[in-house]
Symmetry: C2
Subunit: 245 residues, 2 copies
DNA sequence: GGATGTGAAGCGGTTCACAGCC
DNA sequence: GGCTGTGAACCGCTTCACATCC
């Protein structure tokens, strides 16, 4: 039975767990900081602490890339930087197009983290004629009509969507049709894309709502059990005992 | 032994899984869209599709809040909106302070998603004297010296850190000392906070790097196994079998 | 001795598949 | 008949604990 035997192929390539991939950039950043401080070697304990994870996780993560440490010693910072960079694909340049040059798009265009490590802003595009021609972070804003043109000539493979929500899906369809296979979406909508295209979402409002949930619990909201003894009025919560007692 | 018996208390309150909490805002947004279109009732299948998840997951998520659906029918949109809002703590107002009014802080201050649902910008702060006094998104920028003041008088419980990396930890320490227990961090650093304070991180550069990793695999990078036998050029996508087929 | 690398156990989350109810 | 709600199986990630190697 088990009709999804072939599911394993989903974790493609070398099979680095997605959770590990998501942490590699954090390790890389910590390593760069160590490098700047002139540190040549680092233990899993130290690096883990700098990255905000525990050392077992760090070691397991790194073990997926290969055996780049030395037992009894630690990891050579420079070597590890190179290996992680290579694994993440940062040893080559990636051309990025930013679509939507409102406040957010502008912030992105000026963000140092883009230019610094392997990412090149190959185009800023907007539908607003008033913005077209303006120079932002050293690049001239072009009209959205030229989207396909910019993607093709700039060999753009990553599109950053920073448009209003209502425009995002249309823009997404266009960049995908033009050959882009990775999208970073800042618009508060669920984008639908064909198989093979990766979308990552950054959503400020969602993050805030998650924080609000936890904050509410701390403060005695509907999910909070701390007050279950007494009987304040309001949205009469349905009580469920939790072992926390 | 097992010295982490009390770890269970970490998943506090009613015990809604963290993964579920992270999806509730997405459902909420989809429900609002349905509401605007005048839809009164929705099935798990429809709502799931609008939210970009599968229906089993959606049903299990909602079941953690209670039995708010009707078998054979679906969920009443308005009722579900209320229940999720209440669970997330959006039926009350949350005061937010934004620290750092560069491009990003400005984008955040002007972001509609803040004001719209339960979040009120109670303060914009910056260390740059040139910015202090300026009006942004209808609010006057105040000097960072007044941070504690603003937090106390505005009853701020959520701080958004949009400062340069080097300033973030110091700002974080100050907002925590002033009583803030939820932090949304946009600065590319790992913040350390005392027990009981929640930090969520939004990191553009990390998202891009994750995309680059996958992009590289598609294109035949070091993690790519597809070409190990032969060598066709081009972005010959790595095929992923999906049971739907 | 000391730190890495890794089987094995543990845990949370996802998916299946169907019982339960309208 | 149709759709929700949910136990059970499954899966991947985390953590432990220690064998392994410098």
């Amino acid at each position: 039975m088990t009709p999804r035997q072939n599911r394993n192929r989903d974790r493609a390539g070398r099979g680095i767990p997605e959770a590990t991939v998501a942490r590699l950039p954090v390790y890389l950043r910590a390593l760069h900081a160590l490098q700047e401080r002139g540190v040549a070697t680092v233990s899993s304990e130290e690096l883990a602490s700098a990255a905000g994870v525990n050392s077992a996780k760090l070691r397991k993560d790194l073990s997926h890339l290969g055996s780049y440490g030395t037992r009894g010693v630690g990891y050579e910072v420079e070597y590890l930087v190179y290996q992680i960079s290579r694994e993440l694909g940062l040893t080559q340049d990636w051309a990025v197009a930013i679509i939507g040059v409102g406040n957010l798009g502008r912030a992105l265009a000026g963000y140092g983290g883009f230019a610094s490590r392997g990412f090149r802003v190959a185009g800023l595009l907007d539908a607003d004629e008033a913005l077209v021609g303006q120079e932002i972070a050293g690049r001239t804003v072009r009209h959205i009509d030229r989207l396909e043109d910019v993607i093709a000539s700039g060999r753009v493979s990553i599109a950053v969507i920073a448009t209003p929500a209502h425009a995002a899906q249309k823009v997404c369809d266009r960049v995908v049709a033009a050959g882009v296979t990775s999208v970073l979406n800042f618009a508060p909508v669920v984008l639908s894309v064909p198989e093979g295209v990766d979308v990552r979402k950054v959503d400020l409002s969602i993050e805030l709502q998650i924080l609000a949930f936890h904050e509410q619990r701390k403060a005695g909201g509907p999910g909070d059990r701390r007050l279950s003894g007494e009987g304040p009025p309001g949205p009469a919560q349905y009580v469920e005992t939790v072992e926390a007692g």
